[in-house]
């Protein structure tokens, strides 16, 4: 079944807000789009809208967290990781406050809204902050598992969610979101992917199978803290490594894997993502095709790089 990770977030949060009276839900005039509207419906007394004022929303989230609440604060990734970056850095992460920034519409699959709304820098911006946890779930079940996980920790967290519907990867939400998961084992090379690119990497592996290219595909949901042991195990078993993300190739998953590889297990790492450029308006599927982030584009890049 196909469902957007933002929808899975909305469903899970609506459940959690009823179960845990310490959870408060904050939004900045995008509840319908981020899907916090589900939680608002389930528990209107613990839903707070801050209007079109994302920095202010994060500041308020810090105040709620300092008062013993667990705020889930949502807006689009551009305005959470981008506009409110410094509020997250100074008012949330530095004082180690228990705020969950759940940002939707990340990456270029926002589609028609275009570049102003296509956050391709947010993973980098969030993971560079000391103490900030970063998760990029790929499907409905993993998103629900991530939301359950972050609700149960006392750490500041960033969860990257998408707008477009994505196919299921996991059958149940009984998935350890702190570990990498080898979804497919091959001998030619390994692809580390996160978010929607997990599905594209899996499809790319199928496309390349008939060409004698046998890929390992690894899902990396926890960008920080990452499962370094799991990543090193995969690096140890392959000579050539690819990363795939719906993010700039600078600073995100590609950066993470390159850092680990260069320090602990030198490998050729080829980064697949948005190649340090701005995309444009258009339907999500067509953008993925044009910017070579769909299965065909990923397969092409891998084939050329081998």
């Amino acid at each position: 079944m196909a469902k957007a990770t933002r929808e899975a977030y909305g469903e899970e949060l609506a459940k959690l807000v009823v179960e845990n009276e310490k959870i408060v839900v904050l939004d900045a005039d995008l509840a319908g789009a981020t899907k916090t509207a589900d939680a608002k419906k389930a528990c209107p007394e613990r839903f707070f809208d801050f209007g079109i004022a994302e920095s202010d929303m994060i500041g308020h989230a810090a105040g709620f967290a300092a008062s013993g609440y667990i705020p889930f604060a949502s807006t689009f990734a551009m305005f959470a990781a981008g506009r409110a970056w410094e509020q997250i850095r100074n008012s949330v992460a530095y004082p180690h406050l228990n705020v969950k920034v759940c940002a939707t519409h990340a990456g270029i699959t926002v589609g028609e809204d275009g570049v102003s709304h296509q956050a391709i820098e947010d993973i980098a911006l969030m993971r560079v902050i000391p103490g900030m946890e970063v998760y990029v779930p790929c499907d409905e079940n993993q998103t629900k598992a991530v939301i359950d996980h972050v609700a149960g920790t006392s750490k500041p967290c960033y969860v990257r969610l998408g707008r477009a519907a994505v196919e299921d990867v996991y059958d149940s939400k009984d998935v350890d979101v702190t570990k990498v998961h080898v979804l497919r084992e091959g001998k030619t090379a390994a692809v580390f992917a996160c978010g929607v690119m997990v599905q594209e990497a899996l499809k790319a592996a199928e496309l390349l199978k008939d060409k004698g290219i046998d890929l390992t595909v690894v899902d990396v949901c926890a960008i920080k803290p990452c499962d370094e042991e799991g990543i090193l195990k995969v690096l140890g078993n392959h000579e050539i490594i690819f990363t795939a993300e719906k993010h700039n190739i600078i600073g995100g998953l590609g950066g993470l894997i390159s850092e680990i590889a260069s320090e602990k297990c030198p490998r050729k790492v080829v980064r697949i993502g948005v190649e340090d450029r701005y995309a444009e308006s258009g339907p999500a599927k067509e953008l993925m095709k044009k910017y070579k982030l769909d299965a065909e584009g990923v397969a092409e890049k891998i084939e050329k790089s081998l």
Partner: protein
């Protein structure tokens, strides 16, 4: 507390501010001295915070939105007996709990980490809304600079506080008319602050920020206002109490040398 007794406490707070900053050879002297009367009255007379409750949040809380005046907060916490006076001399030094800008994780009684201007008022209102949600009657105070009010987030927070009818929130606006680059009216005029807060839906009380009686009365009056937050516009003199520091933008972030410290302490003593 008698006004004379409060005055002595404020004088001691000012002395400690000067000693800390001189000892560190770094820190924000002007603003710390300027708002000393405000925080002395707030902590010693008005706020429900004491040794027994300071470790928790079941009490009134204070956010120093203009975090650079941390010497003032530390000195007032010491004056209240919540911080060991000896610790003040560690200010801005390696391994100290007394960071250049306040860190809530290090000091009981520092209720929010601040320093980046404009962020504290939103956090304070978050606390105020949380207090209402929790059903308690604790109040939240914030000290905001007039220069700081040039930050847009102050007005986002001001809008939100009125929207959520945070009558348990009281912002004290330290209106000293100066900022690093000069007079606020010349750098980027934030005035009229009283009219702006009124327009944003706040109850506004304007006072002389060095008149201890007026400060106390305003803070008490704010407690009685229902349905809206209160802004106390406190007209202050940056560097108040030390003649050569008063109304000088140059003393915003400068530490006195040994000679200047001696002269400043002597002036305060003679006051």
């Amino acid at each position: 507390m008698e006004i004379q007794e409060l005055r002595e406490h404020a004088k001691n707070v000012r002395k400690n501010i000067l000693k800390m900053i001189a000892n560190a050879n770094s820190g924000h002297t002007g603003g710390s001295l300027g708002a000393a009367d405000l925080l002395t009255v707030l902590y010693l007379e008005v706020m429900d915070v004491n040794k027994e409750n300071v470790k928790g949040i079941d009490r009134d809380r204070f956010v120093l939105s203009k975090g650079h005046t941390s010497p003032l907060l530390y000195a007032v916490l010491a004056e209240k007996g919540l911080l060991d006076e000896k610790e003040l001399m560690t200010f801005r030094k390696i391994d100290s709990n007394l960071q250049g800008h306040p860190n809530m994780n290090y000091v009981d009684g520092v209720d929010m980490s601040t320093g980046s201007l404009g962020q504290g008022l939103a956090a304070a209102n978050g606390m105020a809304i949380a207090n209402k949600l929790s059903g308690n009657n604790h109040r939240v105070y914030a000290l905001v600079g007039d220069g700081e009010s040039e930050e847009g987030e102050i007005w986002e927070a001001a809008m939100a506080a009125a929207h959520y009818k945070s009558d348990n929130l009281c912002a004290i606006i330290d209106e000293n008319g100066l900022q690093i680059d000069g007079f606020t009216k010349d750098v980027m005029n934030p005035e009229p602050l009283d009219e702006k807060f009124k327009a944003f839906g706040w109850n506004v009380i304007t006072i002389d920020g060095h008149n201890l009686e007026e400060i106390r009365n305003a803070l008490e009056e704010a407690k009685t206002v229902k349905g809206k937050p209160t802004a106390i516009i406190a007209k202050t003199i940056k560097g108040k109490g030390v003649s050569f520091m008063e109304n000088q933008a140059s003393w915003h972030g400068k530490a006195p040398n040994a000679e200047q410290l001696e002269q400043a302490l002597a002036e305060l003593e003679a006051e």
